[in-house]
Every structure is written in structure tokens, then in C-alpha cells.
Symmetry: C2
Subunit: 205 residues, 2 copies
């Protein structure tokens, strides 16, 4: 174990390992090897061993890794051994899909509130949530002490809302708006834009 500064590229692979291990556990498997895990996720065994060994000696020579133990360690490392409240801004189709998405359960996240700037939408329900007025975003998010947000609004509004989120203390933004956000260094942003992802593949066609 070294525990110095971990490169972001390694951190980015940990959730992939976590997901695959969770699936193995669901299938009743008890142990795995860097070889097997690597085949499942498409990453070399050497790299998996190197990545994991950054955080500790979680494996055993000859037998590999206990899936349950490694799962728990990865959850700790990624801080998803708890449940994070998440605010959703934008109650359009994508916002609805995320509210109904079952994949946050058991993976560390729970939607805590939904906001929209459209006064016609405010007060309506999405799933179990009542859409709140985006005007009250900063105040409400501060009150809830939420650190994670998802942005499913048009590109034109995204930068302004991102700034409000930062102001409210949000430290991680999952941005579905098709635009690069400018936020302080201490705020992390991840981008999900289907067109951008597709364009990255058409190059090879």
C-alpha cells in the first residue's frame, strides 16, 4: 500500500471493477483473480493488480481476491459505503428517466430533490417527488447539505445553474447538458452526452 496521490485515470477504473465484482457476487462467486476480472472488464490483469495494490494488499498469492472483501474495500475507497443524496435539476424526459432509474439503489446514491425553472412544472410530481422552483435552488440545496447534483437542462441554462450549485456547496456534478462547464478546481464534473459519445465512435466507422 502506498496511498499517495492516486491518478484520476485509476480512480476512473475502480467503479468498473466495483460493478463487475458486484455482478460476480450476485452470481454467487466467492473469489476471483486479476486474470478473470480483467477478461470481464477488458483490462489487462497486470493493470488491475497494479490499480488495486495502490490501496492495499487485498489479494492472496495463489488464490486471488475475495470478492466480498474487495467489494467492501472498493466501496470504502470510492466512499460509496454510504448513501449520497443527489439533487436533480431539470424535470424533462431525461430527468424523469433518472428518477425512475433503479440503478442508483445499492450503488451509493439516492435522489433527494428535483428542481425546474419552468413555473408550469413546479408543484407537479415526478415519481414520489414534487418539482421545486429552481429559484430556490441555492437555499434549498444548502439546507439539505447535498454535495452531488445531476444536470438535465438545456445547454443555454447549464453554466448558470452549475454556478448556483457550486454556490450552494455542491462538489460533484453529473452534467447531461451538451456543454463544457467552467467550475472551480475543487468541483468535479462528469459529462454524459449521447451525441458526443457516438461521435467518438463514428471516427472508426
Amino acid at each position: 500500500m502506498k496511498a499517495e496521490k492516486i491518478p484520476d485515470i485509476i480512480v476512473g477504473r475502480l467503479p468498473i471493477y466495483l460493478r463487475a465484482l458486484q455482478r460476480m457476487a450476485d452470481n454467487g462467486l466467492k473469489t476471483t483473480s486479476s486474470q478473470e476480472l480483467g477478461e470481464r472488464v477488458g483490462i489487462s490483469a497486470a493493470q488491475i493488480r497494479k490499480d488495486i495494490s495502490q490501496f492495499g494488499d487485498f489479494g492472496k498469492q495463489g488464490t486471488g481476491y475475495s470478492i466480498e472483501y474487495l467489494l467492501n474495500k472498493l466501496r470504502e475507497i470510492l466512499k460509496v459505503d454510504r448513501v449520497w443524496d443527489v439533487v436533480l435539476v431539470g424535470a424533462g424526459d431525461m430527468g424523469h428517466a433518472l428518477v425512475n432509474y433503479q440503478g442508483f439503489k445499492n450503488r451509493g446514491f439516492r435522489i433527494a430533490a428535483i428542481f425546474d425553472a419552468d413555473k408550469n412544472k413546479v408543484g407537479r410530481k415526478v415519481g414520489e417527488f414534487v418539482i421545486e422552483d429552481a429559484e430556490n435552488l441555492v437555499e434549498k440545496v444548502k439546507a439539505l447539505d447535498v454535495k452531488v447534483a445531476m444536470l438535465t437542462i438545456p445547454a443555454t441554462a447549464a453554466q448558470a445553474v452549475a454556478e448556483k450549485l457550486v454556490q450552494a456547496g455542491v462538489k460533484a456534478i453529473l452534467n447531461y447538458a451538451p456543454i463544457s462547464l467552467n467550475v472551480p478546481d475543487h468541483v468535479k464534473v462528469q459529462y454524459i452526452d449521447p451525441s458526443t459519445h457516438l461521435q467518438r465512435m463514428t471516427y472508426y466507422l
Copy 2:
């Protein structure tokens, strides 16, 4: 211009540049510099110049890049100077959101057909599309000669459907199912999993 093998990491940045340039064009801007573009997308000016120069000498010393010209070149390079038909497999909430998503327009993509394995859904409409039976996936996709697919189905079904898509000639898959897919090397996969993206950020919280 070199035009040898371009690293995937560079290809991955091109859609980001494209998106930012499109936005500048929409705002009526005519030229930009590596400096300005870099500030917008959060990438160093040197890297942007290096990336772009892999494909040709598109800039002018002293004045920078013509936005319109660079847009067209990037569209050519990424092969989105045409419109790609895309099949969508999975008519759940996420599938619905993608059908209604306006962000494919003018970015090179158009949904051509929707499939679902649920017989209760087959025949129903989503937007302008009639949901087709996933049983006929291979046959229909071959007939349409579609090369790009989006997968919005449960993880348990994803690998089997991916194999059918590959069999049908699909070369690029945008996978929303929370699982790593094993496909031949000539097939590209991009992953969109909100939990995975969020977990990548919680490490830093």
C-alpha cells in the same frame, strides 16, 4: 499533417471541440484561437493545437482558426458530415428519453428503429416509432444496414443483445446497461452509466 494512427485519446477530444465550436458559431463568432477554445473546454492551448494539427494545418498564424472551416473539418474527420441511422434497443424510460432527445439533430445521428423484447410493448408507439419485436432484431438491422446502436436494457440481457447487434453488422454500441460488454475488436463500445460516473467523483469528496 501526418494522418498516421491517431490515438483514441485524441479522437475522444474531437467531439468536445466540435461541440464548443458549434456553440461559438451559434453565437455568431467567426474565428477563435487555441487559447480561447482551450479555456472553454478546459484543455491546454498546446494540446488543442497538437490535436488539431494531427489532421492538417487548419489554422493561421496570428489569427487562429476559422470556426466554420474547423467545424467542417472536424465533422469530416469524425464522419458526422453525414447522418447515421441508429437503432435503439430497449423501450423503457431511458429509451423514451432518447427518442425525445433533440440533441441528435445536426450532430450526425437519427434514430431509425426501436426494439424491445417485451411482447406487451411490441406494436406500441414511442414518438413516431412503433416498437418492434427484438426477436427480429438481427434480420431487421441487417435489412436497414444500420451500423450504430444504443442499448437501454437491463444488464442481464445486454451481452446477448450486443452479440445479436454484432451479428447484424453493428460496429458502434452506446451501452446504457450497467455492465461491460465483450465484443470483437472491430466493434466500438461507449459506456453511459450514471452510477459509475457518480462513483468516479465521490472518491474526491
